[in-house]
Structure formats: C-alpha cells, structure tokens
Subunit: 201 residues, 2 copies
C-alpha cells in the first residue's frame, strides 16, 4: 500500500527541518535538501515552491507542534514552579553535543534583521509563546501561587526572554549545574505569593 | 601619506564584520567581502587566510572591543542597578529596524552546534562575560548593594543568560516598553540587600 501524500509531506518537512536546524538556512543548499529528504529538486519545487517556501513550512510546522505541546503541558500543570523547572530542564538537561538550540531562535538570529517575513514569523511566535505563559501565570494566580496584584504580561515577557537566553547560553556549552543555579534565580524572580530563593526547587 | 597597514586592517575587519553581522557567516560570499572591504580576494587570502579566518578575526576583534568597554563601564559604575539598566537599555532602546542582535550570539546560534572552533570561542566569550559580571557583583557586594551571603557566580550566569535572551527577544521586534518591564523583573531577581520590585528603576 503506498504511503499517503500527507504522511510523505510530514516526513519531508521533518527531514528538511533537521537539516536547516543543524546547518542554518543559508548553508543548506537545494542539493543538500534533495539528499536529506530523498526527493528530487523538481518535486521540492512542485510540492513546496522552493527552498525558501520549504523553510517557511518547516518553521510553521515546528511552531504549531510546539504550541500544542506547550499548551497541553502548561494547562495540565498542577503547580507552575515545578512545571517551569521541567520546561527549562528539557533544554539544560541535554548533553552539550545535543544542544542545537531552538529552531525559531536560530531562524530569528540568522534572518530577522534582513527578512521581513521571518521577523513577522518571530513576532507571531513570541506572541503565541507569551500568551500561553500569561495564561499559565493567570492559572497560577487563581491557585494562589502568584501575587494577585502582579503584572502577568511583564512576567510572561520576562519568561520568554529568559527562555531565549537559555537556548543561546546552553549552546555556548554552559554546564548544566551552572545553568540550573541561574534557572533557580530566574524562577525566584517571578512574583510568587510565597517566595523563598533558598528552597529546593 | 599612505595609510598604515594596521589602520587598513582595522577598517577591513570592521567592514567584513558588519557584512557577516547583517547576513550571517554562510550567506556572505567572498565576492560580497571583496565588494564590502574594497580589497581583492587575493588580498583577503594573503592578509587573513580566507573567509573563515577573516570571520574568526572579526569575532576576536569584536570580543576584545566589548571586553574593554564592558570592563571599563562596570568597573567605574558607582551603583550596580542603574549600570545594569543602562547596559540593557543599549539593546532595548534601539528602534526595531536597528536591532541586529549581538554578533557573538548570532555566530553561536548559526555555528556552535556544528563547529568546534566557534563553540570554543562562544564558551570563552561566556567566561569572559560572566567573569566581568561576577567582579561587578563583588564590587556591589562590598558596597552593600548585594547580599553578603549571595551566590555571585549564579547571579553572573543569570545575567549572562538574560543578556542573551534580551538580544534574541529584541530581534523579534518586542516593543521597548514591554522589554523594559521584563528587564525590571530580571534586575529585581538579583539578590539585592534591599529589594523593592515596585521602585522606579
């Protein structure tokens, strides 16, 4: 039985994404993409429109997947503090050799300054991300974890900036134990109803 | 009178750096470099060894310049809090169109995962940066601004992560007023002797 077109497309997008992720957009040639995806240049053009359109599709697929995972993770968290630690641990718990950064961060730093489409995508991604964080902070506020008079939007933005920094710092080979102590300070910096920087978290 | 060799070299490095900074390493061709620096390919090879060696030299020159500026700035600061605000304001105070990120952050996200030399450079740069921050935090501790029993290394790492995040978030077009509120939280997250999140900073 032949594989479905949607299945093929999903696989091609994943293989292309992994290549762009490893090398960056500019360093990835259409020949590299042919080799990695196993489909010919003509098929890439027919199915996606070309290298740039394929790249855009991989970014959107990555964002959509991340959004689903993050939304589910945050909305089912029973407490915000351990949920944030777990979220950050997914980045800093990786061995240095496996830290390839965030696909969207890498696209932003490579292209946002010279490409209005990528800048727009990066801004939309930020708004999706901060909106999910704000909602999780709102849930935490209702549970009495976060101070009632605190600025949820500022805290969501603060966590977004922090998340981006963690992705970059982890790519400089910063040891996990050092990152973990910095994460502890970052999480303590939220406006918790009861905050104790020294507590084990 | 002909310009000195050192003067020429400094100018070439600056022009090459600006091009790499705008486009990224992979997207910059040797032809682009010839055009931007005004010197021929053969001279680029003779003077620097090639595109990659030229790139390495621009990274080192950038780091060395940054180190001097940061060291001078932090060691002459009379209070740490306003100094950090001023440092972060240099990034977030720029109009969106002028935010091209940090040259080292961009090199890290483009190349550190696939290039041991860039990973090593990024790690050295992080250690230089965190060492200067730790020293500034130590000065602040001696002045009574920072708690005597606080972990200076963790706070230096925390600020380094934050700085990286700010460079990326600013490149997503995040408005200055939103970044400023997030910065306020980040600075409040340090272990100040007297901390008031609500104070005007």
């Amino acid at each position: 039985m032949p594989r479905s077109k949607a299945f093929e497309e999903k696989l091609v997008l994943e293989k292309a994404r992994d290549l762009f992720w490893e090398r960056g957009y500019a360093a990835t040639s259409i020949q590299d993409l042919e080799k990695a995806t196993g489909i010919r240049r003509s098929s890439i053009y027919n199915a996606f429109g070309g290298k740039r359109e394929l790249f855009n599709r991989t970014l959107k697929a990555y964002q959509s997947f991340n959004q689903d995972v993050l939304q589910k993770f945050l909305s089912t968290a029973t407490l915000l503090r351990p949920a944030l630690i777990e979220l950050f641990e997914r980045i800093i718990g990786l061995p240095v050799a496996e830290r390839k950064g965030c696909y969207v961060v890498n696209a932003t730093t490579e292209l946002a300054a010279v490409d209005a489409e990528v800048l727009r995508f990066a801004a939309e991604n930020r708004m999706m991300f901060t909106s999910l964080l704000k909602s999780a902070l709102g849930d935490a506020l209702h549970r009495g974890e976060i101070k009632a008079d605190s600025d949820l939007e500022a805290q969501a933005n603060y966590l977004f900036v922090w998340y981006n920094g963690l992705q970059v710092a982890s790519q400089t080979g910063m040891p996990g134990n050092e990152l973990r102590k910095a994460v502890k300070l970052a999480i303590a910096g939220l406006e918790w109803e009861v905050n104790d920087r020294k507590e084990e978290c």
